[in-house]
């Protein structure tokens, strides 16, 4: 036990003396929080709408006014021909084009239905659908206004109106959603990548030879390499959380103890993985490649950007062994909804099981190598 303490002292001294590492430990959480969290959002801010008015009537102008007035659209161009309109889509200067044909207004009084043409840049399918549905709802509103102003129909639409409310995040602030996610990426990077690199480094440089000759036991060596990053991971988590709270006023509804407790279990799981991967690499670069491969997959599959229910069954089954998926869910539930132990017991249990399994896997692999 005492030997471990001496080793830990050495590790911390070395970390402190590495200017890069020391700075990184503080800067990385800060930068990630401040820069990434606001950036990551699916929320659409502003759509570039181009309008071609071939009708030139008060009716058409009213429609355009309604669109201009909406905060969602920004009327960016007025192309004069179909070709010009298409070019705008190609160049990306317009996301969506509305073409009002000649005779639009007169069709309101006539037999035919009034026509409108819409061209949408659908490279980003979700954005396209959202813009499209927004446009049609504005058009529908306009339609109703016209009918009402002619006194032809009751002032309210017959039928069911939906009234949506958003709990826990009434403003649908994406930062609330992404901050827990970015925190998870943060501790994964530290717990898996940094810890593992540190493990392999001594192997690669060769100083491990010297340690092998000493009475230091293997478990002590591993513990000394892994414990510092466990501690650093938790510290950075606290740091990131504080920054998030100060900068973005993120709510924290649940129990801090529960939050950090789960993070600790997660760190153990991830450190186990780091150890396991380190047995497969003799240089830092090799380790990085293996670890990065898995980290990427884990993070992408974890539901960080989109909910895991939307994923196909095979993906959801994969997530049973994906520690990042669990922590992602737990973090969001505890932070934003105040979920309690009984609510997340299932996830927590699964995560603990994973942690134990990964450690066991790592130890087996390590013994085999040695």
């Amino acid at each position: 036990m005492r030997k471990l303490l001496f080793l830990l002292k050495k590790e911390f001294r070395q970390i402190r003396r590495n200017p890069f590492l020391a700075r990184a430990i503080i800067l990385v959480p800060l930068l990630q929080m401040l820069l990434l969290v606001p950036a990551i959002t699916f929320e659409m801010k502003r759509v570039d709408l181009a309008v071609t008015d071939n009708d030139f009537t008060p009716a058409s102008r009213e429609l355009i006014a309604k669109l201009t007035g909406s905060s969602f659209f920004r009327v960016s161009d007025t192309p004069r021909s179909y070709n010009e309109a298409e070019e705008l889509l190609f160049s990306g200067d317009a996301d969506i084009v509305l073409i009002i044909p000649e005779g639009f207004s007169s069709d309101f009084h006539g037999v035919n239905r009034p026509q409108l043409q819409v061209l949408v840049d659908a490279v980003n399918a979700t954005n396209a659908q959202l813009s499209w549905s927004y446009l049609t709802s504005v058009v529908r509103d306009y339609n109703r206004d016209v009918i009402v102003s002619r006194g032809n129909a009751p002032s309210s639409l017959p039928g069911i109106t939906a009234s949506p409310r958003f709990w826990y995040n009434p403003a649908l602030n994406y930062k609330y959603y992404m901050l827990p996610g970015v925190l998870v990426i943060l501790i994964t990077a530290i717990g898996l990548l940094m810890a593992g690199l540190n493990l392999v480094r001594e192997k690669e440089i060769g100083t491990i030879e010297q340690i092998n000759v000493t009475p230091v036991m293997k478990w002590q060596l591993i513990a000394s390499k892994v414990i510092p990053f466990f501690i650093i991971g938790l510290i950075d988590l606290a740091l990131g959380l504080t920054v998030g709270w100060i900068a973005f006023d993120i709510p924290f509804e649940g129990s801090l103890l529960l939050f950090f407790g789960c993070a600790a279990i997660f760190l153990v799981a991830v450190l186990g993985l780091a150890l396991f991967f380190s047995t497969m690499a003799s240089t830092q670069q090799q380790f990085l490649f293996i670890a990065f491969f898995f980290v990427m997959i884990f993070i992408l599959m974890s539901g960080i950007f989109t909910p895991s229910e939307s994923m196909p069954r095979w993906a959801q089954q994969f997530n049973y062994v994906n520690p990042v998926a669990y922590l992602m869910r737990i973090n969001r539930m505890v932070m934003l909804k105040g979920s309690e132990f009984s609510d997340i017991a299932g996830d927590m249990g699964a995560l603990t099981l994973l942690a134990v399994s990964f450690i066991a896997l790592a130890i087996t692999a390590y013994r085999k190598r040695a």
Binding site: A125, T161, A315
Partner: protein
């Protein structure tokens, strides 16, 4: 020249002998394509919702059936009281609760209008939005069917829509260009910087410098394999995208490959620059990862559109090479645009490349002038 080729060959063999390098080179893009193509969905499928039916009449039953039948939703709970809502949300089992008020049918008949409540779990804003949106759409549809064919139906404007570039509205289209960009930066910048710094750290760089090879030959020899590997990688990704998703290259393949080569050069130049500025391998990894990978992934418009980001970001993204390249690929691959549409971005990338080559050359000259450390 012969010495140079021998050196390059050695570097190649070095790379291929290591299965781990191959994992990253080929396994990772394949995995990413599959994940982005099949797993990550930004739209809604089988979202779990619950229902609080206080009406319990024909209307509510019909509507519940309609919701259940839709592919967007899966009905998980039928709760009895309002207070249960917070509970099931906290458990994370449900995304939304649809509340049907008492006497729904009767109210509808009497006043012609009624309100249905939708309470969504806002902790996942994207889902919440979509759930609210789709539910509203389904309700609207049902309402429209009420008045169809009656004198109350109004002359509805007919809007004809044409979805350009992606008529089937598939999400792969947005991602594949990003995957290419990411892999290229990873291979050309990260790998290059690590492999050069490795020689520096182990002192073998000095051995090379003393050899008959000139410094520029050493550097070029080290990065040449990664240049070719990156190209091969891109071709593989394109083929995969074509075979797996039917995603074509609508524009000129030659132009696409030319732009790719430019971008790879840029990546290599950055990698060399990083390796000249850093002494330890793990620091090279670190810098490449933080300064190149993460921004490529998150700030380049790969997954999250730049227009959606807050004000200062589009400004910052101007300095990120991946941002320009993603644009170029999208334009060429998906929009089928020609050079006239991408010349601006190309020039910017070219300028960046020259800039980094110049910087690296200067840094290396200074280093070597000091006797090579």
């Amino acid at each position: 020249m012969k010495r140079f080729m021998a050196f390059v060959r050695k570097e190649f063999l070095h790379i291929f002998r290591d299965y781990r390098t191959l994992i990253i080179l080929f396994g990772l893009p394949a995995a990413q394509i599959l994940i982005f193509g099949y797993a990550v969905r930004t739209d809604l499928t089988n979202a779990p919702i619950a229902v609080l039916d206080n009406a319990r009449d024909e209307v509510s039953s019909e509507l519940i059936l309609k919701l259940e039948a839709s592919e967007f939703f899966t009905l998980t709970h039928n709760i009895k009281t309002y207070s249960e809502i917070d509970e099931i949300f906290k458990k994370g089992r449900t995304r939304a609760v649809i509340i049907f008020p008492e006497e729904l049918g009767a109210r509808l008949k009497r006043e012609g209008n009624a309100t249905v409540g939708i309470i969504t779990d806002g902790s996942e804003p994207n889902t919440a939005n979509l759930v609210a949106g789709y539910t509203t759409a389904i309700l609207n549809e049902w309402s429209a069917s009420l008045t169809a064919g009656t004198t109350q139906s109004m002359p509805l404007i007919n809007t004809e829509v044409k979805m350009y570039f992606n008529p089937n509205l598939e999400s792969q289209f947005m991602f594949v260009p990003g995957v290419i960009t990411l892999i290229l930066i990873l291979v050309s910048a990260l790998m290059t910087s690590v492999t050069i710094v490795r020689e520096k750290e182990f002192g073998t760089m000095e051995v090379l410098l003393v050899s008959p090879l000139k410094p520029w030959q050493i550097i070029t020899g080290k990065v040449a394999p990664y240049f070719f590997l990156s190209l091969v990688n891109v071709v593989i990704i394109l083929i995969m995208a074509w075979v797996v998703f039917g995603l074509p290259v609508r524009g000129s393949v030659a132009l696409l490959m030319a732009e790719t080569m430019l971008y790879i050069l840029l990546g290599l130049a950055i990698g060399i620059f990083v390796s000249a500025s850093v002494q330890k391998m793990e620091n090279a990894i670190f810098v490449s990862f933080l300064a190149l990978m993460l921004p490529s992934l998150l700030l380049s418009g790969f997954i999250f559109p730049i227009e959606n980001m807050p004000k200062g970001y589009d400004w910052v993204s101007l300095f990120l090479p991946p941002r320009w390249f993603v644009d170029i690929i999208r334009l060429i691959m998906i929009k089928g645009a020609g050079f006239s549409f991408v010349w601006k971005e190309t020039v910017i990338l070219a300028v960046m490349t020259v800039f980094f080559i110049f910087l690296s050359a200067r840094k290396f000259k200074i280093r070597l002038g000091e006797g090579g450390r």
